[in-house]
Each structure stands twice: as C-alpha cells, then as structure tokens.
C-alpha cells in the first residue's frame, strides 16, 4: 500500500487546492444536457419516436448517459495529465521512489476516480432535476459503475501519456480519443441505430457497458442484460488497467 495511499492523498489534495477545475469538468455535460438535450428532445417528440430509445423520452435517455460522459472525459483527462507531471518534474519523484510503480499508478488512478465521481455526483443531482422520472435507487450502482469506468479511462490516459512527450498534443489527444468514444458508447443514440462498423467499436468500448448499466439502474431500460454489462465492463477495464500499469512500469525519462 506504500504507493497507493500517498497517490490517492495527492490527487485528492490537488483537487482540493485547485477547485476551479471542478467547474470545467461539470460545465461540458451541463451544456450538452441543456442545449443539445432540450433541443433534441423536441425533435424526437413525434409519435413513436420513443421506441428508438427503448420507450424513454429522448431527454431521459440522454440524461441517463450524462454521468458516464462526465466520468469518461474527466478520467481520461486526468490520466493524460501525467504529461503535466512529466513537464513539471513530479513524475521523476514517483519514478525514483521505492514504492512499486504499479501501486503508484493505481493510487493515482484511484485518487482521480474518487475526485471525478464526486463531480459526477453533482451531475447526477442535476440530472434528477432536469429529467423527471429517474429512479432514485440507482445512485449506488451508478457510483460503483462510475468508479470502475473511471479507473479504466484514467489508465488509458496514463498509458498514452507515458508515450507522449509534448504538451501540444494534450488537448488534441483528449478530443481525438474521447469524442469518438463518447459517440460510440450509446450516450447520445442507441447502438441499434449505429452503422455496423460503428457498432463493432461500440462493443469494444468499456463505456458502452457502463452507460447501459447506469441507464438500467436509472430508467429500467437497457440494451444488454445488466449482468453482462457488469462482466464486460470489468473485463475491458482490467485490460485498460493492465495497459496503464505496464506502460508506467516501463517508463523512463528517455524522452
């Protein structure tokens, strides 16, 4: 535990010391929900439209995916921010420490997961206000899904950032990876409406199963069996965690 606890402590302390970042992460989903969600729900108000969304109104459909969206973007960005640690030197401090690197990076991902899920809770509260009729008992499972999802995307970010050396690519990488994964996760439109090639990617995207699972607990509607969601989310997250840990263990300061 020598590596996990101090890194969790660090990520939480950093968050507490820079609370303005909280605003940044929760603004994006709110914008989507309000401007996109309210607008599109009008477009999908024709009779029979709700069949596409498993019987949900479009607003409820979208709202039930917003928590996952907050988590995906937030965790991936926090993972990629290992580049900042590289730039500002703190990475070296962790690389020369005797604590196992796997623990250090798991601690970092876990710390970020806790911080981001706190932000996601704020979004969840707003979602309950905007989209009526969501199940209140969904809160606990949503948080559990959220932490697993967060670990996966933080690891993916870490794996990428260990290989990157420049800060210039930071924002581009974040957008280039998160945007397509968000669209291919069932947050904005169901998998059944996707072109085949897109659906194949969506099946490999861990976010798909977190979104579907969360939607199940919030609305009672889901595309997959909730048990399948859990199993696939866990498996795909484990793969990403493995990638993240491995790339961090191999990290040197070569470039």
């Amino acid at each position: 535990m020598n590596g996990i606890i101090p890194m969790v402590y660090r990520q939480i302390k950093r968050f507490v010391n820079a609370r303005s970042r909280l605003v940044m992460t929760i603004v994006q989903p709110i914008l989507w929900l309000v401007f996109f969600g309210l607008g599109m729900s009008r477009a999908f108000s024709f009779p029979g439209a709700s069949v596409m969304f498993g019987g949900l109104s479009y607003l409820s459909f979208l709202a039930s995916g917003m928590v996952a969206m907050t988590i995906i973007v937030g965790s991936f960005m926090s993972g990629v921010s290992v580049i900042w640690d590289k730039q500002f030197g703190f990475l070296k401090e962790t690389l020369v420490a005797p604590a196992p690197r796997a623990q250090i990076i798991l601690g970092r991902a876990l710390g970020d997961a806790l911080v981001i899920n706190l932000q996601a809770m704020i979004i969840l509260a707003l979602v309950y206000l905007i989209a009526p009729g969501l199940r209140i008992e969904g809160v606990v499972p949503v948080v559990l899904y959220g932490i697993v999802l967060s670990l996966g995307f933080a690891s993916l970010g870490i794996a990428l950032s260990v290989r990157l050396s420049s800060m210039e690519g930071f924002q581009m990488i974040v957008n280039l990876i998160t945007q397509p994964l968000l669209f291919m996760s069932g947050i904005f439109f169901p998998l059944s409406t996707m072109p085949d090639w897109m659906r194949i990617i969506a099946y490999l995207n861990p976010a798909t199963y977190a979104v579907d699972g969360m939607r199940y607990w919030l609305t009672g509607v889901s595309a997959f069996n909730p048990m399948e969601d859990v199993a696939l989310l866990l498996v795909l997250t484990a793969v990403l965690l493995f990638l993240g840990v491995r790339s961090f263990e191999k990290a040197t300061i070569e470039d």
């Binding site: 020598n2 590596g3 606890i5 101090p6 890194m7 402590y9 660090r10 302390k13 950093r14 010391n17 820079a18 500002f88 030197g89 703190f90 990475l91 070296k92 401090e93 962790t94 690389l95 020369v96 420490a97 005797p98 604590a99 250090i104 040197t252 300061i253 070569e254």
Partner: protein, 325 residues
C-alpha cells in the same frame, strides 16, 4: 563495504549520440564527490543512470552495493535525489510534498510528522509548511527539495546542479546545508556542477567530465597540481601577430590563450618571471602586462580540454586573473 558507488565502463547512447562514453569511477563511503563539467558534458545523464531513471547502454553501475539494472528497488530505497529541474508538486503545500514523499518511502504516523517538521526547520522553511509551493521562490523550492531528499535518511545523496539559477547568497546557504548534512549524517554525497568554486569548496574529490568522458579525477589539490605550482600570464604588444611560445627548462608548459596572451605554467613564478622577460626581449617581443596566480580548477579544465569551463553562450575574451601589477 567502503565504496558507495562503483561505475565501470559506463556507456549511454541516445540514438547516435554518445552522452556517456566509457566512464569509470568510484565514490568512497562518506565522501563528497563532485562531477565537474560544462553543460552537456553528460553529468545529468550519469546521475540519471546512477539513480535508476535511465538504463545504461553498457557497463556496470553499483550504488550502495546494488546493481542499478538488476535491483533498482534496493538502490531506490537507499538514495535521495535533488534533481536539476524542480520535481515538487506546485499545487500542494510544502508539508504535503514531504508527506507524500515519506509515504512513498514507507514512513508514516507521528514519526513522519516529526521528521517533516525537523527537516523543514533545518532548511528554514518551517513557517511555510502549509503554504502552496506555487508561491515559493526558486531558492525556497530548492531548499524544500533538499529537505525532502533527506526525509528517508538515504545512505547516498545525489545533488544535480544544486545551486544552478540561484543568487549568490542562496548558493552559499545551500553549501552550508550540504556541509551540515555531511557533518551531521556522514552521508555520501554525489554532486554535479559546472561551477568551479562550488566543486572546489565542497568536494573532497572531483572528476572532470567533458564530452561524456572523464578527463581526470582526484582531490582539488591534486588536480591543480597537474598544472605545476603557479601560472604566469604574459600579455604581449598587440603588434605581434602570433606570439611564439617560450620554451625552456623552467617552463612546464606554454600555451597561447588569446591573440596576445601566453599562459606559462612554472614551478616558481618569482624566479621565473625575470627569465621570461629576458627570453621575450631576446626574441624581440614586448611584454606589456604580467600577472600570476595559483592554478584554479578552471585552468585545470582548460589544460585538460583546451577550452574554458563556462557556458558557450557566455561569450567574452580571456580575462587575466587577479593580482596584476
């Protein structure tokens, strides 16, 4: 075990650039050992290999008795490092930076807390314990890094350019801390620097490094004695296009250091000077200025590498040293 660090034929290549080329040296337990050389000589690369951050291309490196390649974990437990570039988290307080470091090295509880305050006190940062590092000056950050590197009581302390970019008062203060660490803990200290005065003041033994190679090593006195006892600078009339060197039995070496200035290494400047005047006038050369001094590490460096030990950006002609008449 009396050797804290053993380096044998160390080579590090980055693609086609050889940063460290067949370097070998040993550092004894409890000594302050300095790696002196200009920027880009390979000092930082060497320190990164010694601290397990880079893998050597070839060669053997043992730190605190362990191979840095096969047992980096054992090495990491026993060393403390102050990097050339800051490696503290600006968005945390001084205390939190220390606390995280302590936890990463397996310390915890009251003992950790006591040590943190004790070390912050040592570097005069106790009043700033709960301030964000973001607001610290460069000197304060360096002091915090020194305190942090001592937290887990390492056997060997690595300092990469510990006073680079600091003002003169802060430099002296950092030197005091280094001497105090050595005195109080008997720690082995390995430092790199491109300041000759720093190496001269602090180090018991020095290796001079240039272009990835070690040119010479020994105590500062031994290195200076490579040049004989004293150095005489002779400035000749500007009309002489290329002053011939004065060769004689009392001159150990003679070198033209600028267009009109000769550097002569002699055993005894007082007796050599009249003979230098004689030799010059017999060759029809007019001496317009003479100065002499005991060799410095800078001259040792010039002697060994043929160029000055200072940043290449720092342009300027050769400045004759003090004590002129």
């Amino acid at each position: 075990m009396s050797e804290a660090i053993v380096v044998e034929n160390l080579v590090k290549k980055f693609k086609d650039i050889t940063a460290v080329d067949q370097v070998s040296f040993q550092v004894k337990q409890g000594e302050i050992y300095g790696l002196l050389g200009p920027n880009g000589a390979g000092k930082t690369t060497t320190i990164h290999i010694l601290t397990t951050l880079l893998r050597p291309t070839s060669g053997k490196v043992f730190v605190a008795g362990y191979d840095v390649v096969t047992s980096p974990g054992e090495v990491r437990k026993r060393i403390g490092i102050v990097f050339q570039d800051p490696s503290i988290d600006n968005q945390l307080t001084a205390y939190d930076n220390m606390y995280i470091h302590g936890r990463l090295y397996g310390l915890s509880g009251e003992e950790l807390k006591r040590k943190i305050y004790q070390l912050l006190d040592f570097v005069d940062l106790k009043p700033y314990a709960n301030k964000l590092v973001r607001y610290f000056s460069g000197g304060m950050r360096r002091r915090l890094e020194i305190a942090r590197s001592l937290l887990h009581e390492p056997d060997i302390l690595f300092l990469d350019e510990p006073t680079i970019g600091l003002d003169p008062q802060t430099r002296v203060k950092i030197w005091d801390y280094i001497m105090a660490i050595k005195k109080e803990h008997g720690m082995t200290i390995f430092l790199t620097t491109h300041y000759m005065d720093e190496a001269d003041q602090l180090c018991e033994r020095i290796a001079i490094m240039d272009h990835g190679q070690i040119k010479a090593q020994g105590t500062p006195e031994q290195l200076k004695s490579l040049l004989g006892n004293e150095i005489v600078y002779v400035k000749l009339d500007g009309n002489t296009t290329s002053p011939p060197c004065i060769e004689s039995d009392y001159v150990e070496s003679c070198k033209q250091v600028s267009r009109d200035t000769l550097q002569l290494v002699v055993k005894n400047a007082a007796t050599a000077m009249p003979r230098i005047f004689e030799a010059a006038s017999s060759k029809g050369l007019k001496i317009i200025e003479v100065s002499y001094r005991r060799p410095t590490l800078n001259e040792v460096f010039i002697y060994l590498t043929g160029r000055e030990l200072r940043d290449s950006l720092e342009e300027g002609g050769f400045r004759p040293p003090h004590r002129r008449w």
